[in-house]
């Protein structure tokens, strides 16, 4: 079980990873040979930021854009509806 991955990245272009178990603030995860410090509790299957994401920048998962950062997001932060905005269904 110690070889089991903590988080999954679907594409090399992704800037978020999906945690494969609930993780706690302060944990250090090994993701793609990088050490990522978890900044806050993140539930199972939720996303965490692999690097800093400035406000307005694209969130990339599956190698595609899944939304924009609503504000600055730090490495290891939970990435979800509180800090990500969809680009679809918006009045032009």
């Amino acid at each position: 079980m110690k070889d089991r991955l903590d988080a999954h990245i679907l594409s090399e272009a992704d800037n978020v990873a999906t945690v494969l178990r609930a993780v706690k603030a302060g944990e250090t995860l090994v993701i793609s040979n990088r050490l990522i410090q978890v900044m806050e509790d993140i539930p199972l299957c939720h996303k965490l930021a692999l690097g800093e994401l400035v406000a307005g920048s694209a969130i990339v998962k599956y190698g595609a854009v899944i939304g924009n950062a609503k504000r600055l997001i730090s490495t290891g932060e939970h990435v979800h509806v509180h800090n990500v905005e969809s680009r679809r269904g918006k009045k032009k």
């Binding site: 089991r4 999906t18 899944i66 969809s86 680009r87 679809r88 269904g89 009045k91």
Partner: protein, 387 residues
Amino acid sequence: MTSSHFAGFERAQGRAGTRNHTLILSVTGLTTPTARRVADRLHGAIALGTPHGSGHLGHDAAIYQRCMKALASHPNVGAVVVIGADSMKIDPVVAAADAAGRFVTGLCLDDHGHDAILLADRAHRMAAGFIKELSKHKRQPIPLDQLALGLECGRSDPSSGLVANPLVGLTADAIVDAGGTAMIGETTEWLGAEMLLTNRAATPEIADAIGAAALRRERMAIDAGINLTYNNPSLTNIQAGLTTIEEKSLGAVAKSGSRPVQGLLDYGESPAGAGLWVMDAPAYAPDSLTGFTAAGCNLALFTTGVGNSYTSALMPTIKLTANTETAARLQCQLDFVAPDVFSGLENMDTAASRLLTQIVGTASGELTWGEILSDYDEVISRFGASL
């Protein structure tokens, strides 16, 4: 090694069946309670109906006609008792079932002195005779090209996009490669992932039609003034970890596998040939599944993340998940689980092979939990107001 055949029911017209149901089909809202009473008193009969059988206008009317005829002549229906308020309502549906070579009778309230008890008794007796006849039919070896799969996802979580939907995609590829048919719908869940479909469209016209269908669906949400976030994805999806419709769509479209898209279907429209198709349809399971049923699909695969008990009445529906916790919790709901793929203990190809074996088993008569628990229905979608 997976079989090249399943054990099914040959039909005089059209695709073979994975089931041989006797259907009590109410085509008007007035007679739907009667249909349920009749089926309740019979072994193995299925009651289907509509709360809205009259007052359809325009596109709604065309959809209703198409779907009712399709349910009455479905590959998995061997016999049907069509009941309705008047002969104008039942005659076209009876004719469709008759043309498809099914045992059929039509009964309307007008011809029974508007006496629902009398109508129910006659329907009961006719259906009983059909069930007796159908029980003599034996399953025959049927090649896999007679399978037409409806592919659905519901109450998804990120494990759906990571594992369950790609797994379904692999089996869709296998069935299409064997000469069969597969389809996805849920147009809202193409938003953000359109290129995954348009890149595989058989012609540029099909690619344009897919893109236009997605934009029309997006416009529906904008014109209604709703924010997609918390509608689709729903609260359930969001609590499970899906953040935006783009993220959900990229995971959802994986169900469609990798083969070329042969065309865009209207709601409940039957495809002109085999292969992979996409249907412009609502994303909610009852509406969505019936779109596939009416298109002639004879089996469904329905992935879930957190759990979803609903299935199609006429398409035996394999419920599957890759979520470890859900797989452990819902053992009388899930027909196939792949938690070991999620945790890295099983590879995708091995799981796909297992799923293909399950598909053949279910097609050949193994009951799904939805069938056993009667957790099923068919719901014809509505698009406008009634007159």
